[in-house]
Each structure stands twice: as C-alpha cells, then as structure tokens.
C-alpha cells in the first residue's frame, strides 16, 4: 500500500502532470463561475481530445477540471444572486444578503474554504469508506430515497421567511411547476399544452436565474439603487474573516461535508438535495435561526461544504464501484473507458497506484483551486460595487449566453424573463423564493421515487424499517427547536427557588 502511495505521489508530481492539473483547475474554475454552465455542458467538449493522451494525463485532466467547478460556482450566487451551477442555488439565500451588507469578501472566503475543505476530506475518507459504500447504496432503495427527499422538502418550513402561509404557498407553486412535462413513469405529457419546449418540463437553471438574479436586479433598480452593495470590502482581511468563520463553525462544516458525501455516493439522487438538506439542517440546529436568509455565514458554509463533498462522493463511487450516479458521472465513466481503464472494484486493486493518483489529484485540485479563488476574492468582491449601468447589461449577456449554451433552447430566454417578473412580484409581496425553488427541485424527484416505491412495495412502503426510522429521525429533527424550547422552559420553571 505504501509503495502504491509512493508511486501515486511520484506520478502526480511529475512536472507535466502538475501542469495539466493546474491548467485543468483554471479551466474548471472559469467554467464554474460562468452562470448556468457546468460539467455536463463542458465535459463532452473535452472528451474527444483525450483519446490519444496517455492514461494518467487524460484522467488527471478530467479529474482536476471537474473537482473545482463547484468551488467557484458559489461566487456568482454570493455576488450576483445568480447560481453558477444548479446546486449552488442554496448558497444565494444567505450569500447575497451578505454581499448587500458589504460582506461579499467574507462570504466568498467562507464559501471557498468550506467548499475546498469539503472536497478534500472525502478523498481521505474514500479508501476507508470503499467497503461500506456498496452496502450503503444497496440499503437505500426507492422508499428510502423517497423519504430522504421528503426530508429535503420538509425544510420548506425553514425557508418560509416571514409568513409561513406565504412560504408554503410558494413551495406548493414550486411543486406544481416541477410536474410540468413528460411523466417518466406513466408516459403522460402534463401541462405542456402541446409545446415541444415543455416536453421535458421547465429547466432549473433558467428558472433560478430569473427567480433570483434577474428579479433582484429589477428590484434594486426599482428602488433607485445604483449598485448591489454601496461598499464592497475588497480586502484580503475580509476574505480571511470568512476563512476563520469556517473554523468557528467547524462542526457545521464537518456535518455538512459528511451529509453531502453520503448523498453524493447514492446514485440517482439530485445534487441539489445535498445543498438544500444541509442548508435546512444548518438553520434547524443554529442558535440564531432568525438570522438565516438575512446574511448568516452558516447559510453559506453548509451548502458549499455539501456541494463539493457530494461531487467528491459521486466521483469516488464511480471510480470505486463503476456506478455513475448522474449524467456528469456517466461522462466521467465514459472518459475512463475511452482511455482503456474500467472503473470498479477491480480498478482499486489492479490499478491501485492510478486510483490513488486520481484521489490525490482531486485533493490537490481542490487545494489549488481554493487558493486561487481566495487570492482572487478581494478583486471579485468589487463586482458588487459596480454601477448598474455597466453591471446589468454585462450580467444579462453572460447569463443569457450561459443559458443558451447549457440548454440550447431559445425558449429559455423567455423562461428567464417570466421568472424574473415572477420573482420580482414574490419579493415585493413577501413570498419566499427559496421555498419555490426547493419545491421545484425536489417535487419531481419525490414524485418519481414515491411512485416507484408504491409500484414495487405497495402504498405502505414507508412502513419498511429504514424508511420508518428515517421518518422518526425527521420528526425529531423538525421538532428539535420546539423540544429545545420546551426543555429550556421546563428547566427554567423548576430551577426557580
């Protein structure tokens, strides 16, 4: 084993491999920071080039590129209220308010550090976890997935903002919107009015871009403001404060990393589930839940840790078991096969030095990517103070190009605009936009897994041991703040003389 580690380190630190890794990290960071464009849109462009490359170089290129996309994708969420990738949408809820308060640098510092560390820890967990991964995946069938997603949906309560009724209404609207399009279980076309553009439903990225990014800009302009933040702290000290925040909330970071990692290794569960579940648990367990949604740094740390940990978990499952959990991971698997390496348990034995090289490559890519982002953060944070006359057209053009490249559908321009207006109305009348987004993201997944569960296990699927245990944990988690309050009040009553 030690010999394999030695070989892996020697391979990774060859100048050409380091150079490739560095270049891949730079490209990955750029891809992550461009709104709407993620690995799914860009990995297919890289694949044709790796055919004739040596195996190590080809795979280091792919691994390095993909490992850091989520490190930088939180930046646009924080600075512009525009998600770089779909899972980073959860970061907007508290990241953007921090920018408005002039704490953009601190938010980026916290996001990047949390994300970087969240990507590194799973690598070191990986080898210990490999024997446990398959039994865990096997244990989580359709009913368990349905309940896990229900747990995510239950966090709607944590995202309702001021009015619970309005929050739930927004969440329900999100659920309804998620039902549009071709139903993958029954084959029925729902609510698409015969329009081909709606066969696959509404796309997440244009919806999120409109609902948050565009509507926020409309709102600020309506209010007569000239920039996102009147003062954007553009000093490294502000960024370092964010780094320290991660240390202050290290247990939250650790919990979110583990949750993200576990969700990441489960095939078929949406990447967005990880970030929203972690955001929800951060609020549920916080001493100051009232600060969430108004710029709480914990609301940035939790989803960012989960985002990268989830991706590291998915990559490791693909490599160690040959089971791709998402479309991006299917591309990843294809890249391995194209260069003649078959991922799976045999790879961890027959190609152990290569597997270790890639694992260490993921860790190194995260560190390099994180350091680059931290160094660039003070300058990037200045974006928040750019005058709207320049910022608005710039954002609009880049976002629209991103939407088109990612979805190839001009119809999505209309989606961005429509949800920009919907988002503005919601903001003006106090309806929670994160609740709508959460309902939209998880509604389709919950419907699919619950229907599959009913077809396989019958309508009482939730009475199986693991789902039942999960439901009990969920009930405890949701009632935790009330229980805590009750216990404190009882203590107070009985401790009085």
């Amino acid at each position: 084993m030690l010999e394999a580690y030695g070989t892996a380190i020697a391979t990774l630190f060859q100048p050409i491999n380091l150079l490739i890794l560095f270049a891949a990290v730079i490209v990955g960071l750029i891809v992550g920071v461009i709104p709407a464009i993620g690995g799914l849109a860009t990995l297919p462009l890289i694949l044709p080039f790796i055919f004739r490359m040596p195996v190590e170089i080809a795979l280091i290129l792919i691994v390095g590129f993909h490992a850091v996309i989520f490190t930088s994708s939180g930046m646009t969420s924080i600075l512009l209220n525009i998600p770089g990738t779909a899972p980073s949408a959860a970061t907007m809820v508290d990241g953007f308010p921090m920018t408005r308060k002039g704490e953009g640098g601190r938010a980026i510092g916290a996001a990047v550090t949390s994300s970087m560390a969240g990507g590194v820890l799973p690598v070191f967990l990986a080898l210990a976890m490999v024997p446990l991964v398959l039994p865990l995946i096997i244990a989580l069938g359709q009913p368990e997935m349905a309940i896990l997603i229900l747990l995510g949906i239950s966090f709607l309560a944590a995202l309702t903002g001021g009015s619970a009724i309005k929050g739930l209404m927004a969440g329900m609207l999100g659920l309804l919107l998620s039902f549009i399009g071709y139903h993958t279980i029954t084959g029925v076309h729902r609510f698409d009015f015969g329009a081909a553009a709606l066969y696959d439903g509404i796309e997440l990225i244009p919806l999120a871009l409109g609902l948050f990014g565009l509507s926020e800009l409309f709102y600020l302009i309506m209010k007569g403001e000239t920039a996102i933040a009147q003062r954007a702290i553009a000093k490294l000290s502000g960024v370092m404060e964010g780094v320290k925040d991660v240390w202050r909330h290290r247990w939250l970071w650790f919990r979110s990393t583990i949750i993200g990692y576990v969700i990441g290794i489960i095939p078929g569960i949406g990447a967005e589930v990880a970030t929203w579940v972690c955001y929800g648990q951060a609020k549920q367990t916080s001493k100051h839940p009232e600060k969430f949604g108004k710029g709480a740094v914990e609301g940035v740390i939790a989803p960012e840790a989960a985002d990268n940990a989830k991706e590291a978990g998915a990559m490791l499952t693909t490599m160690a078991l040959g089971i791709p959990g998402s479309s991006v991971m299917a591309l990843f698997l294809a890249a391995f096969l194209m260069v003649g390496v078959t991922p799976g348990p045999a790879m961890m034995v027959e190609h152990l030095p290569l597997a270790l090289t890639l694992l260490l490559g993921i860790a190194l890519a995260n560190i390099v990517g994180g350091v680059i982002c931290l160094l660039a953060a003070p300058q990037l944070a200045r974006v928040a103070s750019v005058h709207f006359d320049f910022l608005f057209p710039g954002i609009l053009i880049v976002a629209m190009i991103g939407v088109y490249v990612a979805t190839l559908s001009p119809m999505n321009f209309a989606t961005v605009l429509i949800f920009g207006i919907v988002g503005l109305v919601m903001k003006l009348y106090g309806y929670s936009r994160p609740a709508l987004l959460l309902g939209f993201v998880l509604g389709g997944l919950f419907e699919r897994y619950s229907l599959l569960s009913i077809k396989i296990y019958g309508p009482l699927f939730f009475l199986r041991p693991i789902p039942l245990a999960m439901l009990i944990v969920m009930a405890l988690l949701l009632s935790y703040p009330y229980l805590k309050r009750g216990i404190t009040s009882l203590r107070g009553r009985y401790s009085q003389p």
Binding site: L40, L43, P44, L47, P48, F51, I137, I138, G141, Q142, Y182, H183, T184, I185, T186, G187, H189, A196, Y199, D200, P267, G268, L321, G322, I323, P324, G325, S327, V328, A330, L331, F332, L333, A334, L337, M338, G340, T342, P343, G344, P345, A346, L408, R448, L451, L452, K455, I456
Partner: protein
Amino acid sequence: MINMIKKFAVITGVLLLVVVIAAAGCPAATEPTTPADFYKGKTIDFAVAQSPGTCADLISRIIASHLGNGTGASVIVANRAGAGGLEGMNYVYKARPDGLTMGTVASAKFVGNSVLSDPAAVYEIEKFSYIISIDRQSYYFFVSPEGPYQSVADLQAGKDLKLGGGSPSGSVCLGGLTVIKLLGLDARVITGFGSESERALAVEREELIGYCLNMPNARASVEAGMVKPMFVLATERDPLTPDVPAITELVSLSDQDLALVRLWGTALVGSTLCIASPGIPEDRLAFLRDLADGWTQDEGFRAEIDAVSGYEVQSYVTGEELAVAMLDTVANLDDFQAIFIELIEKYRA
C-alpha cells in the same frame, strides 16, 4: 487627441458597416459546383438524440469529428436528448433539406416511437436521409448473478415479477414487455428508472428481477458483478457473447412470436444511425454516404469506435442499405403496433 479617437471610431464603424452590408447583400462570387465544394467552410448542425456520456453519444462525437475532417465544414455537436431523444429526432426531421443539419439517433428508440405512434414524434422514419449505421447490438435479458431466477423455468414459476424499464415508450420497456409475452410470465414492467445504474442497483436490491438492455450500455453493471445476461433477444447467439443462448434455444415460439423476436434482430437493435434531414439533394447525400463508407475502411476511425464500445465493432451498414431496411420496417409496422399496444396495456405497471 480625443477628436482623433472619435474620428477613428467613426471611420472604423462606417467601414465595418460597409463590410457587413457587402457580405450580406452580395451573392457568392461562385456557386459551388460539387458537394465537396459546398461543404467547405460551412457549418454543420449535428444533433445527438442521446444523453451526454452514453455509448451512442461518444460514437456520435467520433462521427462528427471525422465528418468535419472529411467535409472541411465546422461541425457543431449538441445533445438534444429531450423527451427520450424525440427532441433531436424531430429537430433533424424539421430542418431545411440542405444537408447542413445532421444527427445521430439510437435505432431502437427511433423505430419504437413509430411502432407506438408516439403523438410527440412528428417524423416518418422512411423520409430521413440515411448516411450510415454503426454497430448492431442485440438486446439481452439481464438478471442478478446470485438471485433466485437463474433459468427460464425459474422465471416461469415466479409470481408477480417486476422487470425494469426506463422511459415508458423506450426500448428497455418494450424489451421487457416482449420477454413477458414470449416466456408467458406473470410479470409487469416498471418504468421510470432514470439510468442503467439505478436499474442494476434495483436488481441487486431484489426490487426488480431483471431487465432488457444492449451489452454496451450494461457493460459497467456486468463488470461490477451486479447483473449477468441470461439470454439474447434474437434468433441467434450474439458473436460478442457466444456462451449466452438465444431465447429461441430456450423456448419454442409461435410464428407470430418468432416475427417479434426477428424485429429485435433487425429494426429494434441498438445501433447508432447517422441521419440528415429529409429531401437533401441527391449529390450531397451520395457524397456524405461515400465519406461514411470511407470511415469504415479507416483503421483509426474503427479503433476509436471500438474504444468507446469496449469491443471490436463488426457491423457497419451503408446508407443505401439502411434506407431499404427502414422501408421494410415501415411496411410491417401495423402488425407490431397492435402487439405492442396490447402488451403495454396488459403488462406495463
């Protein structure tokens, strides 16, 4: 100094405007005389009706790369996999007949939509311009290597069995329905599994007893030891897996059932079809077909196809042969349509 910059900007702007107007308004100096000249410097819009990362997607990208080299055109590849690939199929069908919109489709889904008369499929398969077909992957029935169903007799003795499907009108679902009919199983096909790994894991968890799929797409699951092939849905064994029997070796079938199995050996196979929009000029179609025939002789091209397929691909069908085969398929569509619609009503959960 500022005046100079202003003047420079105005002059540059006027010049640019003149160039743009000239480029837009003037006809080309010379009309291309041959298809080879026509394609040089043009842009080909190449729609892949498959999700990124699938075997067919990778094959499509190899085709696109060689198409660009062979024509001198820029080939823009885009995955249009919406609604189970219908988006890409409809897109190519509705494109202008100039030979600049092409794409790839998975044969089984492409034909399956016509078999089921999917209302969202606006195309007629016999009207496309066919360039080449790559590979001919038979469909297998996969089961758990250690589960209770290791033979046809085990399956026939089982009650309320559950087979996995993907899209409700997709080839995985239709394959499962075919197996139920041919073996006379007490079973249903459960659709809605998003990916191959989800289906294989459901078999591993014993939520499903098996499913139909072609070998390249199931390869990762087979190599991970989650599933194994029980038989091939064809009248003969697949040279790729000589040890796996054909279904006809395991059960005796009626003439109608045999015709159904043959459909799985012809039109409903896992092939990647390269197509162009209907009605493109004959000389351009002939040029594209000659180009594609050349690829099949090119060792580099074949090596790339073999690399992404995971084995040596033997079957390359020319555009002319493919067009004839599609006409044959269309001639028999009505018979199969009735069978599959009945199977869906009876056995799809």
